[in-house]
């Protein structure tokens, strides 16, 4: 039996066993690669005459405790839904089209549940801004002067990721759900800085619940060797492409005295577990 054939057999039998028999305790989570595919990859390596020491499937995986998401969403705060408003000032000023919100999320996968997934707190920070030429007072004629609105939601949520499909069944899909509370900082400003009116400064913070439901596509299966190398080199266990529906009811729980800066929208982006 040649050395390459031996290495292929070892990879095909030992690695899935290691994956499925590991303790799955938090901090030592293996890469959720499907066992069958790992074996197939190992055979491929053997066919390519890779030395046993270089077979990526031999790498047990670095500790996994955290996740990071880079998120992109269309966003349009629900300012005009506040009770007591006689008009739709946000629509009149900025129109009805949402703007891009860029956000980042950091999750701590504090609890790993064997054959199920992970659970832990996550912190999200995002930013979106709106700018349009202001109308001359009492007209519908746009001036050369811009009026601006910015919103920055901060969300603290419990994040549940169900990765059993990927780890146990070889299906590279990880559904997840999030729920928590959020605070949305907002500010309206012009060329001279923050706007003022009625002895108030146009800025504040609105609180409320937040939630999300989505699914992530495990990208490791596209190039398992690269994924394993990335884990070994940088500690990134898994890379995902995700999409979700999310909402943040940032209105001080429906208060008429709060700027309603939440939205219900979609998000997409990349996620990394490390």
């Amino acid at each position: 039996m040649s050395r390459s054939t031996l290495s292929a057999l070892l990879a095909a039998t030992l690695v899935p066993a290691l994956l499925t028999s590991s303790s799955l305790a938090a901090g030592q989570t293996p890469s959720p690669a499907p066992a069958g595919k790992v074996a197939e990859a190992a055979r491929t390596d053997a066919a390519n005459e890779l030395p046993l020491a270089l077979a990526p499937s031999k790498y047990p995986g670095s500790p996994q405790n955290f996740a990071f998401e880079l998120r992109f969403s269309p966003y349009r705060p629900a300012v005009d839904t506040a009770a007591g408003l006689t008009g739709a000032p946000f629509s009149r000023t900025f129109g009805d089209n949402p703007r891009l919100m860029v956000a980042a999320e950091f999750d701590w996968q504090a609890l790993r549940i064997r054959h199920f997934g992970s659970l832990g707190p996550g912190l999200t920070a995002g930013y979106a801004s709106f700018a349009r030429p202001a109308y001359f007072t009492g007209t519908n004629t746009a001036s050369s002067q811009k009026t601006n609105f910015e919103v920055a939601p901060f969300l603290l949520q419990a994040v549940l990721r169900v990765d059993v499909l990927a780890t146990d069944f070889g299906i590279p899909i990880v559904p997840y759900a999030k729920a928590g509370i959020g605070a949305g900082y907002w500010r309206a400003y012009g060329a001279d800085g923050t706007t003022t009116a009625n002895n108030k400064s146009a800025k504040g913070v609105s609180f409320g619940p937040s939630y999300a439901l989505g699914g992530a596509l495990l990208l490791d299966f596209l190039d398992r060797n690269t994924a394993a190398s990335a884990d070994e080199a940088s500690g990134i266990n898994n890379t995902y492409l995700f999409g979700e529906f999310w909402g943040a009811e940032l209105s001080n729980f429906g208060s008429a005295n709060a700027m309603h800066v939440g939205d219900r929208t979609f998000a997409a982006g990349l996620a990394f577990e490390f």
């Binding site: 506040a82 202001a134 001359f136 007072t137 001036s143 969300l155 900082y185 309206a188 060329a191 108030k200």
Partner: protein
């Protein structure tokens, strides 16, 4: 600001003497006698040296300590000329007796003013140098000599052998010069041979009073207490530094300047203080240049437009100093991009008044801070606009902070992040105990 310059020292070359061959004995005797007579003079050969430190001085011959951009350190600009600046030299001489005179002559750098033909031409030749200093007295050494930049760049030979003294007249500042001039300090005999140079020293300086080309395609649109101004490229203006924007109100009655210096016409002068002091407020950006604090009648207007012309902002004129009443520098842009940028300067650092008609014109500025001619003026009237928050409040919205601060989103984010970090730390400690 003083600018140390390098010079070199020269001594008068020996004068050649031709010996007649027919009368050797007689000539020898004559020569001997003459030699005895002139021994003292030959022993004291004349030299003239310019000290290494040449400083710029004000019109009152005091050192100019104002800051200058590095781009103008070695240049006489239009602003310098308008301010009647000068240079102060320390001239050291030897052998400088009452038989000699110290003079300074100026000319283009390619002209040798030591050659008498360029100073005192004969047979209809053209005089190429002009006298800018006549210092027979005193003969102390080192001797302080102040030369006016207007004299150096006067290019005026009309006075013949006499001192040009163009410093009294600022007209020369607007003649649009971009050339290098040379000043020659000469020690000349008073009587025996007035045109023979006993010693000389030179000093060169670039003169650039030529501003950039006129800005075109200026347009303006309105905002609250401001105007947004745009303009087209300055196609042929090399060494572009930025732009000045000049505003005028309806009370302005005196033209800001009279003509375009760049054309070589008689012109008024640029504004030294303005060019030097014009603060660059906002050099951001690209295609739109914006003068803040003015705004138009709801729409842009060019060449007077619905506002009509303004007496002060004459197209093609170069801004003069001081600016007349009702005219002010309302913006400056430090941007070499020809398309413009945005500026946010208003009137006296404040917003323009809504409802007050304002005219604005743009002038390009070169690296020497020479101001080009004014563009055609555009006008507008600032008007109030509806900011989002004003609309929100008008519609019954009540959200907002009191005028004295709020929690702020950063604080919220820090709080949430701190909470998460505390949780992680707690978890880690518990894990450690196990």
């Amino acid at each position: 600001m003083s600018s140390p310059l390098r010079f070199w020292r020269r001594t008068a070359p020996p004068t050649g003497v031709r010996v007649p061959s027919r009368f050797p004995v007689a000539f020898a005797a004559t020569a001997l006698g003459a030699g005895l007579l002139f021994v003292p003079a030959l022993a004291a050969a004349q030299t003239v040296t310019v000290g290494s430190s040449v400083i710029r001085v004000t019109s009152e011959n005091k050192e100019d300590t104002s800051s200058r951009p590095s781009s103008t350190a070695q240049t006489i600009t239009r602003a310098d000329c308008e301010a009647d600046q000068g240079f102060q030299f320390q001239i050291s001489t030897t052998g400088y007796t009452s038989s000699y005179t110290l003079e300074a002559w100026a000319g283009r750098s390619s002209v040798d003013c030591k050659a008498s033909g360029n100073r005192t031409p004969t047979n209809g030749a053209v005089q190429k140098c002009w006298k800018i200093y006549d210092g027979s007295l005193p003969r102390t050494t080192p001797q302080t000599v102040n030369l006016r930049v207007r004299d150096i760049m006067a290019n005026d030979v009309s006075a013949g052998q006499n001192y040009v003294n163009a410093a009294k007249d600022s007209t020369v500042c607007g003649t649009g010069i971009d050339d290098t001039f040379k000043v020659s300090f000469l020690i000349l005999p008073v009587t025996s041979n007035p045109d023979s140079v006993a010693a000389d020293e030179t000093f060169t300086k670039r003169v650039d009073t030529l501003g950039p080309d006129k800005v075109s395609n200026v347009a303006a649109s309105a905002g609250e207490g401001r105007l947004l101004v745009t303009w087209g490229a300055v196609t042929s203006g090399s060494e572009l530094y930025g732009y000045n924007l000049y505003c005028a109100d309806a009370n302005s009655t005196i033209p800001i300047g009279t003509a375009d210096a760049g054309t070589g016409d008689d012109a008024s002068v640029s504004d030294a203080s303005i060019t030097a002091d014009a603060s660059v407020e906002d050099a951001s950006v690209g295609a739109d240049a914006s003068v803040q604090d003015a705004s138009v009648d709801g729409s842009s207007s060019n060449d007077g437009g619905t506002c009509g012309p303004n007496v002060a902002l004459v197209e093609g004129a170069v801004p003069a100093s001081p600016l007349p009443d009702g005219v002010w520098l309302c913006g400056s842009v430090n941007s070499a991009t020809a398309a413009g940028a945005s500026a946010t300067i208003g009137r006296d650092k404040k917003a323009l008044k809504n409802g007050e008609k304002i005219w604005v014109a743009v002038a390009a500025v070169d690296q020497a801070l020479n101001i080009g001619p004014l563009s055609a003026a555009v006008c507008g009237t600032p008007q109030p606009v509806d900011d989002f928050y004003e609309v929100y409040v008008a519609d019954g919205g009540t959200a907002g902070c009191s005028m004295h601060g709020s929690a702020g989103g950063i604080g919220v984010g820090v709080g949430l992040g701190g909470g998460l970090a505390a949780l992680a730390l707690l978890r880690r400690r518990r894990g450690g105990r196990r």
